[in-house]
Symmetry: C3
């Protein structure tokens, strides 16, 4: 289950080659291979990566100016997906075209809109500001999952797993799991999106600094930690997190660790997912080696998640009807799944 | 097709770690992953290897005393499968539990009962005495098959294949295939198991010693050989076999080779199988090198079987409706298949 | 979709071992594994490679004279597929037999008839003369495809792909794609085969010599090129092709490149295909190094085809209901697909 009328991240901007590079970029989103390239003027183009003639992937062809030519029988398509040349055919039929998708870049994330193009509204783009902001620094990350995207949403919506999956990395204390988070609705910017996500605020008092924080400075007292994030449709996490020595005054952040993280999930197929992420630190705290070490911590921790979620997915596949037992900690993830289901239901009754 | 109300071997005892070892043992039986561990008192515990909360495998968690804790969100289960702690939840619901299976060890084989626990009766355990007996010596073996378990039962119920599959190893003569075995019913220890298996007795006169016998002593005359075994539900072979120089008096076993073998098949999935086996020689005949060489012969011969049965399985998968042609040599295997089918039918009408 | 009442190439003659070689040859055709061997008199035998008893592949057994013996339980079959010996069974039942297929060799191709043996008529064999002819030389080739065979037929029936897939190998000019071929029906030798294929003639004037032609001689003028071929049921291409300097008189072939190519496709399964091919040059033009270089060119170009068709096949598998857009260049391939469909329909109403 997934939504179509949403912006999905298909790539980091650096993954899309410049106009003068012959290689083309293609990635599958919601089961559809999508070709993304830049025109000579720098505009982004997203086309269905499948020739309308015999269904060969256009990405096995070549760029010709702002057009692409299929490498099988030579049909040439412009940036709107219209076939403008077919060898040996004087008049190309109007219906010779491939689908073009709305595509937009914001703060280094390249988004495509897989649903009704008339509904694509950039007001719905998430505020992934720290991906590209002079006050913040990060190293962008990408990871591929062989699991459905909702299982990863579940993971991101219940940080109690930090105590167990990430015991030796991001977590470090059973108190994270024991803390009860505050859960609030996030309303959308438009009236037809009354709720676009969930805000989760989890504060944990007087816990040891996780190993990962020691990269900033050496902490010799416990910390008060916080994780405050929005988790937005279709699957984007925007989080402020940090920790402050318990001995410091509540309004004194001088020795605090402060982070901002943008993470987003894009279904590749029913059972595989693209994961784009970064965790930023303030530009005036920490140098390039801190940026690198935060990135490496994240990769390490996200591999722990992927191991667990992949094992969970295999377990579910073995017995797809096995019931899960809802517990208090599932509150946010269940609310998010209901939100996805409700919007999927709306889309299915108004088919695009 | 398989039976549930049976004891299945899940492991050799040495495969289950001691209580103070952090690693946990998990193996799939009848499509269900089962976690097996020992309490500090040494008792065996077998639990469904799937957390009742979000279905993650418990074996990716950790031991805590005689309990196991899930590595995803930290639920803790006791040796009866009851959840005794869930982080952040003051009162754990009664229904938070995983299935516990009856588990028992006999002569180094660890058995689980996958059906109705109320029917689990140790009187039904097979007499695998030579697996652990002062008069016998062996080296335990394990092999994994990517075929349904009944195809391997078939193989063990028709030793005519020794002449062809094992021509150069266990077999050595077409006379084995030509000999007609005696086939008898084996009654169970309880009235509700009127037949639990088949006894097959095959005697072959005046044949060369198989290459494998030469490890005991050098034979310069032909042998009279015998293979006398019970093949019991769900898939256990208990066999006395041997050979005696034809020149020796019938009651003179002084120069005979005598072996006792215990082998058992446990379905992993519909199309894969666990195979546990050993072939024992008398403790007073042959030293450790003989034990090792019997083991190596067995591994070699069982690889020959696996190659053939795997090829047979692929052939069947290509055309699942292709009929087999019953011949006289199939008498025991057809009888066993009818026995399994009849009991499976009983189980399906009294669902557990 | 495929036809059964056809001759399919199962092997080049050199692939079938001589009678005194213990190894046996087996290859799957139309989903059925077929064992092919030679009798001591040199006659070809083709038997279903699956014992009628327990369905083990006969090719895992052994030759015994002109018979084969199953390696599982020892059944022995003669060259007609009749079981002539079953260990321990005094009288072998008449129905103990495996299917024998009509098999014939013509010009180094070994053909089997997978349908009704009564309809097998060698008059239907294609004229693959250059595979074995004193006036022609070639090196035989074989390639395996993980795609349905009809996608490869499509490729061979529309040479416009030469301009794009083989731009740097066999092709070399967009004019090949722009040229409009002549398409004619090919009638069969028997009244019940009113059409057995399609003749495609494509002439391209004044184009550069393809890189591959430079192996014969160095061309310093453009060429007039021709590709004239029959594409016959079930999937055989017989082609005369060549090129002549535009400066030469129309009837002067003294500096022309002339080639004859025989290629044939045999479905292995619904989604995989055997491809047998050669491209011959006149025996009096070019030496062994030319033969080798033509072969290498062909392998290179056929790998280009396989890459493209495999990508096309994956694209189709992702969305099996996606429509293709018929264009003028598809005329021959659509006609051939209709021909196959019509005959498949005939076979399904007169089941064999």
């Amino acid at each position: 289950m997934w939504l179509r009328n949403c912006w999905y991240v298909i790539a980091w901007d650096h993954e899309i080659p410049a106009a003068d590079v012959p290689e083309m970029f293609s990635r599958t989103v919601l089961g559809e291979p999508v070709l993304v390239y830049r025109t000579s003027a720098g505009a982004l183009v997203a086309l269905q990566d499948r020739c309308c003639h015999r269904l060969a992937p256009l990405s096995k062809g070549r760029r010709e100016g702002d057009c692409v030519r299929c490498g099988y029988h030579g049909l040439k398509f412009d940036a709107q997906g219209q076939c403008v040349e077919a060898p040996g055919i004087p008049i190309v039929p109007e219906k010779a075209r491939v689908r073009a998708y709305p595509v937009v870049q914001k703060n280094k994330w390249v988004f495509v809109w897989m649903g009704d193009p008339a509904l694509a509204d950039t007001a719905l783009l998430p505020d992934n500001f720290s991906c590209e902001h002079p006050d913040w620094r990060n190293k962008p990350g990408y990871m591929h999952y062989d699991t459905p995207y909702l299982l990863i949403c579940d993971n991101l919506l219940d940080f109690s797993h930090l105590s167990y999956v990430h015991e030796k990395s991001l977590g470090g204390s059973a108190q994270i799991a024991q803390a009860v988070p505050t859960i609030e609705k996030v309303a959308g910017p438009r009236g037809d999106w009354p709720q676009i996500g969930i805000k989760v605020s989890r504060r944990v008092a007087n816990v040891p600094a996780p190993p990962f924080y020691q990269r900033f400075r050496s902490f010799d007292t416990p910390l008060d930690r916080w994780f405050v994030y929005e988790f937005l449709l279709p699957g984007t996490l925007l989080m402020h997190s940090g920790g402050r020595p318990v001995t410091d005054a509540p309004d004194d952040l001088s020795r605090a660790v402060r982070l901002h993280s943008c993470q987003t999930l894009t279904p590749e197929t029913e059972t595989s997912t693209h994961y784009f992420f970064q965790q930023s630190h303030p530009a005036d705290q920490g140098d390039a080696s801190v940026t690198e070490s935060i990135y490496n911590s994240l990769i390490g921790a996200f591999n722990e998640d992927r191991d667990m979620i992949t094992a969970q997915h295999r377990s579910i596949q073995r017995d797809p009807d096995a019931p899960m037992l809802p517990l208090a900690m599932d509150s946010a993830l269940l609310q998010f799944r209901r939100l996805v289901a409700a919007r999927a239901q709306m889309e299915s009754t108004k088919p695009i």
